[in-house]
């Protein structure tokens, strides 16, 4: 059978774009299919009353200076042939984890967090160093390593439950699809990418990164089709042969790389489990996020942090809320507090809280939905201001997005921001020629997702196929 394409990539998020660039660079015929009318997936962008807002990105994790060796960011740059300076990355000032009775600052210099732990939790300082050694010593790239829970491992090093929660909080908010705990390998990936490497951001936000990727994609010769949803996968004799589009068109390919998610891809394949003997669940964690435009820089109000992760509740509960939104914990991001070369066009405060997709989906499209957004915006700000100076008198414009927005941009069932709690690290499904990339392969963040697409394209398409 002759294939129209060597590979079809489902989804134009970070992983799909990166995978397609790799395949096209080495002369594979590849098409990226995206149901939405814009690329980026979770890390996308939109316009609101003349303002340019980002959807997913607060910060790019995995920061590394130019010339740093052996780190995920350097690996990504080499694989996509991007120069470090092209990313226009500006590191954070510092960030904080703010809990009842303790506040820890951290920055892209790991020593700050070390000294903060030693100051606030002197009895835990040695344990923290031992935990750091364990993290550094763990090879998260070993895709065959057996799954284990992170909480019991961390408890072996850190005995104070408050410090445990304060370390888990940023790592969970920025990348855990599981409630209450993380897989240990995910903990390692997130600890390295946030605490050991750090945050940075292009001056123009996620648009800039996407622009680079789209340019590479076109230069390499890959095709990108927006507003092109996949309705099902063509599977014959246990192997993926292509896809049928929403419009009924059929595309054939030698391989299909899906960033749609584990559960979502399984539905496209007809419902049979992609993990023989197991029935993976859709993720239960989704977010609301408000974007407030201020009439002055946040620094003028005394807000110095780039990002604040907070919880008012002890123990910190990372779980689907029992209400529309859980404002007892959240993430507050001041994009203007990265070390930017010039002041940003808008002075923003972004607040992210956990939310229940089901409740938001039930609200319909009328005034009820807008009223709920307004009500929760007020509660969310009220919960945030004990952790940063009160910015509310300076707000000139607000937009809020909800689990429904996340669902629209990611296509994830239940608006699950980080996909299914079950990850498929090898990318290999029970169906030949069908591979998972992106969130549900298990690497998160912009750099992680892109590396997921790259490594799966390398391993299953480029390496596997000697001509």
């Amino acid at each position: 059978m002759s294939n129209a394409y060597d590979a079809i990539v489902i989804g134009a998020g970070m992983s799909g774009l990166a995978a397609a660039i790799r395949l096209a660079m080495f002369d594979r015929r590849v098409v990226v299919l995206e149901r939405h009318d814009v690329w980026g997936g979770l890390n996308s962008f939109y316009q609101f009353r003349g303002h340019q807002f980002d959807v997913g990105l607060h910060a790019m994790t995995n920061w590394a200076p130019r010339g740093a060796k052996g780190l995920p960011l350097s690996r990504l740059l080499k694989q996509l042939r991007i120069r470090h300076e092209e990313l226009d990355l500006h590191p954070q000032g510092y960030s904080a984890v703010s809990f009842p009775g303790a506040r820890l600052r951290f920055s892209n210099d790991f020593e700050l967090l070390r000294s903060e732990v030693a100051r606030a939790f002197p009895a835990q300082a040695d344990g923290f160093d031992a935990l750091t050694r364990a993290v550094r010593g763990f090879n998260e790239l070993d895709l065959e390593a057996p799954q284990q829970d992170a909480r019991p491992v961390v408890r072996r090093f850190i005995t104070d439950p408050l410090l445990q929660d304060m370390l888990f909080c940023p790592l969970m908010f920025y990348g855990s699809a599981r409630e209450h705990d993380m897989d240990w390998d995910q903990f390692v990936v997130m600890f390295k990418s946030i605490f050991l490497e750090g945050f940075a951001r292009p001056a123009a936000g996620v648009r800039h990164i996407l622009k680079l990727l789209i340019r590479r994609l076109r230069e390499a010769g890959a095709e990108l089709r927006l507003r092109t949803g996949v309705s099902r996968l063509l599977v014959e004799d246990g192997a993926a042969r292509g896809v049928v589009l929403d419009n009924g068109e059929t595309l054939m390919a030698g391989a299909v790389l899906s960033s749609a998610g584990l559960v979502e891809t399984q539905q496209l394949a007809g419902g049979a489990s992609l993990l023989p003997g197991q029935q993976p669940q859709a993720g239960r964690l989704s977010f609301t996020e408000s974007i407030s435009v201020l009439d002055c820089p946040a620094r003028n109000l005394g807000i110095e942090e780039t990002i604040v992760f907070y919880s008012d509740r002890l123990p910190f509960a990372y779980e689907q809320p029992r209400d529309d939104v859980d404002v007892s914990s959240g993430v507050i991001c001041m994009p203007g507090n990265f070390d930017l070369p010039e002041p940003p066009r808008d002075h923003l405060v972004r607040i992210t809280n956990m939310a229940d997709h089901g409740r938001w989906a039930a609200l319909g499209h009328g005034p009820e939905y807008s009223a709920a957004k307004q009500r929760w915006y007020a509660k969310s700000c009220a919960a945030a201001v004990p952790h940063i100076a009160d910015f509310r008198p300076h707000v000139t414009l607000v937009d809020t997005f909800t689990p429904r927005t996340i669902r629209r941009f990611t296509g994830h069932a239940g608006g699950a921001v980080y996909g299914s709690p079950r990850k498929l690290r090898t990318g290999r499904t029970g169906i030949d020629n069908l591979y998972l990339i992106g969130t549900d392969q298990g690497f998160l963040g912009i750099v992680g997702a892109a590396l997921s697409g790259i490594s799966m394209a390398n391993r299953w398409v480029l390496q596997g196929s000697g001509e």
Binding site: R66, G70, Q79, R81
Partner: protein, 87 residues
């Protein structure tokens, strides 16, 4: 292609993979990965670029022949003798 051109071909590929890397003072007898930020993914790229640019096929089992510039030249001399350097 002369031995010097083979060296240039390899260095050209490395420069394209990592433009931030300084390749001006490489020791031809020392392993490339000890002098540069090259991991197994990058060696895969060198192999794929050799195929794309010069039509040279390096089977998986021969990857270790590309460890140093000297070993690259020895290994590729025969395979690349009729090829022209791509800049």
């Amino acid at each position: 292609m002369t031995d010097e051109q083979i060296r240039q071909a390899i260095i050209g590929i490395i420069n394209d993979i990592n433009p931030d890397e300084d390749t001006s003072n490489l020791d031809a007898a020392v392993r490339l990965r000890d002098q540069l930020d090259l991991d197994s993914m990058d060696f895969l790229d060198i192999v794929m670029e050799l195929r794309k640019r010069y039509g040279v096929h390096v089977p998986d089992t021969d990857y270790m022949q590309l460890a140093t510039l000297d070993s690259c030249v020895n290994y590729l001399r025969d395979k690349m003798k009729d090829k022209a350097l791509v800049s």
